[in-house]
Structure formats: C-alpha cells, structure tokens
Subunit: 444 residues, 2 copies
C-alpha cells in the first residue's frame, strides 16, 4: 500500500510491507535520510549515498564541476590516500562506482555483508572529509579530459548528449552536458570545488539507501557514528525545501511534425549514421509517466516493438533501433534512435516518425497493451532479484518522488492506463518534435 | 569437493553439494547434457543452451557463418514466426539473447519460474526446428552488415578484434574475427547455413545449463519432450570426442620484449589513441590459469592495480587503462590496454610495458598476493548471487573443463599460487610480446 512519507519530520521510522520484503525509512539526526530493505536470502549489501546535486545546479562557467568533485572524492580524505580507498574496495572483491547526472550525484558500493562496515566507513569518509587537494585536482583534471575525449570518440555518446542539449536548451543548466567541456573543466579551481562540496554535501541533503543482508538499526547507528567522526554536525535539521524547476525548459507540445525539423549534423568519418529524433515530453513526476512507459514499450522497447519489427526484422535496415525517454524536474524528453549506413538514413527516419504518427492516428491494440503490461510487470519482477537495482529504486523514490511505491502499487498504476491514453499521448508527441541530431558522414 | 565427471556415460546423474547449493548434471538420452543448480531464494530461472561451435570451426570462405546462423534462429521456426519468438519473451518481461564466440554459440533466457516451460519451448524450438528461410537470410544479412558497421565505428572494438587476429594468426580459424567480413557474410548462402545447422546442432553437442527456482527432473523431462517434439532423434548417443586444438596458434614465449614489437596502426580521426599491446599466453585449461588471474589482478585488474595507480592515479595519463587475457583450446593471449590523447601515447606504452617487466624482475609483494586473493574470492562470492553468472559458470565448466569445480575448490586453488609463480609467469609474459595495435590519429 502507498504511504505518503512526511518529508519534514526530523525523525520518523516507517515500516512498509512490500512484496513480502521490509522497507524502512528513517530520518536521522541532522536530516540524513536512510532507506533500507532487508533481504536475508543474499550474503551481500548494495549501498548508495546520494546528493541531490548535479550539472543542473552549475553555472555556465563552472560546467562540469559536480563531476570533477565526484572524481576528487576518490582522491583521498583526511585519513585515507587514493590508494587506501582503492585497495579497501578491491581487497574485499567489492564493487564501487560513482555517477554524476543532471540532477544527482551518487556513490555506490556492493560488498559481502561482513564488509558493510568497511563500505560505510569509506563512503562516509569520502562524503564528509574529502581532502580536495590542489595537486589531486591537477592530476585528476587530466583524467577527466581523457574521459571527455573518450566520450567524444563514441558517436552514440556525442549524439545523445547533443540531442539532450538541443531539446532541453543548449545554454541552460539542464541542457548542458554533465561533464562540461575542455574549457570549463580546465577552469575549475580547488576553491570552486571546495565551495561546491561545502554547499551541497550536508546532512540534510544526504540520502543513503541500502538493500541486502543488513540490520536497519545497526546500519543507522553505524552511519551516524561515521558521519559524526567525519566532522558533520548532526543536530536536528529540517529537510530541504523542494527545488523549483528551472525556467525555460520547453514542454510537451512545443514542437512540430518530424518532417518539419531541421537536422543538426555532426560530421564524422564513420560507417554508420547515428540519428536522434525527438523533442520535449513530460517530467519525471508527471501523472502520465506510466502512459509514456507503455507507449515506449509498444513503440520501441523490445524485440517485438513496432520499430524493431518494422525497421529491423521486416526490412533489415538497422541493427540498433529503439525509442527512449528521460524525465527531470519540470521537464522531460522523448526520442527515436537508429544507426544505419548513410544511404538508408532517409528511409529509416521516415519510417521511425511514421510509426509514432500512426500510433497517434490509429492507436494501439488491446493485445499490444496486454503485452506491454506483461513486459513491464515481468521485468520489474526480474529486477527485484538484483539488490543494486532495488537500492537504486529506493534512491529514486526518495529523491524524485518523495515517497516509496511498492511494486504492487506500481503495477496497479500501469494497469489503469488505457489504450486511448497511449494514443492521445502519441498524438501529442508526434507534434512535439524539435530536434534531430545526425552523427556520421554526409549522406551519399 | 571436486568430482571428475564421467564424460562418456550415456546416462549419469550426479549430485554435488557446493556452497550449500545443489548442482546436478544428467546426460540425457541422445547425449544431451543438462546441468542445473536449484536456488529457491529467487523466483526466476536463467537458462542457457550451448553448442560447442564458433567461428574457429569455420573455413575462411564461410567466416561469420556461425554468427549468421545464430541470428537466423530468431527469424522463425517451423511453428513460430520471428514476431512470435520476440513477443513470447517480451510479453513475460523476460530477457533473451544469444552470443557467438570463437568456440561456442550460446542462447540465453531469463524468466520468472512460472515462465520456464515457455522459455524451454522456444529455445528448444529454435535449436531443433529453425526455418532458415532464404528470404529471412536476405533480410538478416543486412542487419548483420549494420552490426559489423557499428563495430567498425567503435575504436575499442576494432582495436581488440585486430589485436586478437594479430596475436592468434590473422589467417587462422582462431584468429579471424567472429563476425566475418562484409564479403564473407555477403557470400553465405542458405545452403551453407543449413549444412552448418545440421552438422553442429545435434543432441550429442547440446549442453543446457539452468540456475534458479527449478526442479531438475521436471526440467529434464520437459527438455527431452520439447527436443523430441522438434524432431530430434534422442536415441542413446555417445558424447563427442574432445576436439584437438588447431595447429599453429603461437604459444607463450613466442615473442620478444615490448620495445621490439612493431606497431600496426589503424588510422582513425579520433581524439584518443587506443593501444593494445601483448602476445600469446597460456590456454584456457592451463594449470597456470589461477596464476595468470592473480597476475592480471595485481597488474591491471582494479582501481588499486599497478597500471591504474601508476598511470591514471599518479600521473593522470589515461582514464581507461587495464590488462586483460583470453583463453582458448590450446591457445591464449594477454594484453595491456590504454586510451589516451596521442601526444601521451609513447609515455603510456613505455609505462605499461615497464610495469610487466618490473613484475618479472622484482616480483610481487605478499600484500599484493593477499589483496588479489581477496579480490578474486570476494568477487566470486558476489557473483554467486546472480543466477545468470552461475548459469554461465556451469556452461563454462562443462564445455571448457569437462568438470564442475565448486567455489571452495576454486578458491583453494588460487590460494596455492605463490608470489614466485606470479613473478615467473610475469617474466615469461614480458618476453612474449608479438603485437601492438594502435587505433587513432597519427601521433603529433
């Protein structure tokens, strides 16, 4: 059953029965939020520490600084060298990683249950006590420039980032690429990074989620102890106010028909042409997000989807063809993607757009609705067996939606979507095209 | 405890207690081998069907035909269209895929337990009754050519395939790329594919592995029933004789020092230069494979490895830098990889080779040995929580080693490796360089 979580309570402790598993949420002193799900069928724990700060929170001059900070957290703390951090995870065979996105920064570890205290200790140390030394910044900046160069060499990476920027606004905080550019990364100073760290890495911003063979209360105590040891003031704090969406991101319906969209061409000497075609859509919290998910499943979500069947299976025009969507605070986007040899591009693009238009004009069948629901339900059930996926779901619930939705409720919501809802959304999307990005050689 | 499996028994049924779990192996009528591990803590099953045939079994003129056949199995059977197959997996939210490698072809499904009969039915239908229609080949050939074009646009893909070919022998069955070339894929006929299918997709070749919420005997009965329904003759058959390794693949020690190796340059207008440097190593079944795994872990296997620390962390010269190895019947290889901007290439390559040379000259510390063992043990334990990984491990055990090794035994073997063994192997590898492949712009 859904339970709306009181977001302003200093301390709450809720137990939610979900699918036979136990999800608990506690607001700890200082406003640190801890969400866990105990699963004793495994002998490991996936743990994530989340900060609600991403490239969207940067100014143009400091583009990429959130990502630079994420890298620097691995370069050492008051107590640990970079090597200490690396060795600690490696020697227990654990996994660790970090991801910076447009709206979040996320540090992740997966370890055997016995090594959970180690993982908490290291992650808390990084979150509270990063050294952020100027010489570490100088070295790591070079690593990040190599990372940007690597992305620049991948046509799908370049195409997707450019597509996002064009749809969301190339000169807006939300539209800019997460990693910044060679220029902005080159300009980030140790002072910038320290200011960023001080502003955003605070108890009332931190969300910790963990799934696996764990004890919620023991983890809460351990987490508090390590955060306090790192110097954090854990006096009772109010939770942060919800952020307002940026102004200016275009909304669904802001575009035109696919045929009327200009192409931004990024010339590359590749064998394939990579095409991204789409425009603005609904936000991450829209009431229509289940409708969009079903639409995407039917349109281009699997081997039986319309795009895959009509473009790949029946005509052999592409190896990779699919539809995609992304949601943010107050903004979102949809897209159609295909990679094909240049001479086929015009036909593939016409077919892709025609599929969405046909869906808006003629709707979808009850059989397609049933299969899409089956696909979503089945993949959700299979996803539940992966502690990292569930840990990620807890984080998204808290950070994006402010509440936890159990799987039964989620499925029930998908089941309320009607074929007419999908058709209606398809019709609106089909006239919301704003952007086409092609990466590849000139069409021959 | 290890149990050597009698490979020639027509019917055997062994129960191995491993890590508290139950692994069973049965040789079914016709010689079909079924290996399962029952895990009732999940509600799904990962199932794989394996044939011991890969690009290594092709003639030069038919290069890529094994991969073409793998694609065609999804294009329909006597009873099912391509759409039927795609819809069946999609509508239950299952995962399905297939992989062709140098020595194996592998079809995979992951479904909720209740959908296991469906998965078995479809996979068995594909394995026994593929339609292999000429018109399906004509369409799918185009899809495969797009797949080859996609791979050609990825500098790491191009570099790795070229490196493998150079080390193993560019004109040998083992060295040729799995996917073939535009020319050879274009030349494959429906008759070729049918002959290949008839020769290799036979009861005595098939290995089925499954892990999850399953009953071994029920799965065995179902599998036999579906294979028989597909027209397979399941009279008792002997297991196939072990294949002999191809002649001609160079062995460890066939090379020279890294500095003496010529560079094969594949010119690409990319920002980074991608370097693959290495040579022949031990085979997949060598007694030294645990030694090699520990060596690779210390040299370039994680964030705390020598390559990562000395090239990325200390000097900021690369984002991606690691060592790798691959093993086959009677052959194997090792390599060092880095991607960096062109002006840094010479320094990075020199540092990479120097690390391996230093390891051969000065050895590794007991601390490094302890951490490598911890890393291997820990990641093995974490990997055990993933039914797909365990299903893959059962397949590799049967097809590569002919016996199942439980995790305790595997770890015990790693623990017998001494620092001196690692040093000795490092010394031999350091004089086994034969190949360097660079993909990228000319060095400025």
């Amino acid at each position: 059953m859904p339970i709306d979580l009181p977001m302003t309570e200093a301390v709450s402790d809720l137990i939610l029965a979900s699918d036979g598993s136990l999800v608990r949420r506690t607001v700890l002193p200082g406003g640190v939020r801890l969400l866990t799900e105990t699963d004793t069928s495994v002998r490991s724990v996936s743990i994530g520490m989340w900060l609600p700060v991403g490239s969207r929170d940067e100014t143009a001059q400091h583009a990429g600084s959130t990502h630079v900070l994420e890298h620097l957290l691995f370069k050492g703390t008051a107590r640990r060298s970079a090597l200490d951090i690396a060795q600690a995870f490696d020697e227990v065979g654990g996994e660790s990683n970090a991801v910076t996105s447009k709206e979040h920064t996320f540090y992740y570890g997966r370890v055997r249950s016995a090594d959970l205290p180690l993982a908490v200790d290291i992650l808390a140390d990084m979150i509270t006590s990063a050294a952020l030394a100027p010489e570490a910044l100088a070295t790591e900046r070079e690593v990040i420039l190599e990372e940007l160069a690597m992305a620049a060499d991948d046509p799908t990476d370049v195409g997707y980032e450019t597509f996002l920027a064009q749809v969301l606004g190339p000169d807006t905080p939300l539209g800019r690429p997460v990693g910044g550019t060679e220029e902005t990364v080159g300009a980030v100073t140790a002072e910038d990074v320290r200011a960023h760290y001080a502003e955003h890495y605070r108890p009332d911003q931190l969300v910790v989620t963990a799934v696996g063979d764990l004890d919620h209360d023991a983890l809460a105590a351990l987490l508090l102890e390590r955060l306090a040891a790192g110097g954090w003031d854990l006096a009772d704090g109010a939770l942060p106010a919800a952020r307002r969406p940026d102004d200016g991101a275009p909304g669904l319906g802001a575009g035109v028909d696919a045929a009327a969209v200009d192409t931004l061409r990024l010339a590359r000497d590749t064998e394939q042409n990579h095409v991204y075609l789409g425009g603005p859509s609904i936000s991450a919290t829209s009431e229509e997000r289940q409708t969009l998910a079903i639409l995407m499943s039917i349109l281009g979500g699997g081997m039986s989807s319309r795009l895959f069947q009509h473009i790949r299976e029946e005509r052999g025009l592409a190896y990779s063809v699919y539809s995609f969507s992304a949601g943010y605070r107050g903004a979102g986007l949809f897209g159609l993607y295909a990679a094909c040899r240049p001479a086929r591009t015009a036909q593939v693009v016409e077919l892709m757009a025609a599929e969405l238009e046909a869906m808006g004009r003629e709707g979808v069948s009850e059989d397609e609705m049933r299969r899409a629901l089956g696909q979503i339900t089945g993949s959700m059930a299979l996803g539940l067996e992966d502690t990292a996926s569930r840990m990620g779901r807890l984080g998204t619930s808290e950070l994006v939606h402010g509440r936890y939705t159990d799987v039964d409720e989620a499925i029930a919501r998908y089941a309320t979507v009607r074929a007419g809802d999908v058709q209606d959304l398809a019709r609106r999307l089909a006239s919301s095209f704003t952007t086409r990005v092609d990466v590849g050689p000139a069409v021959v």
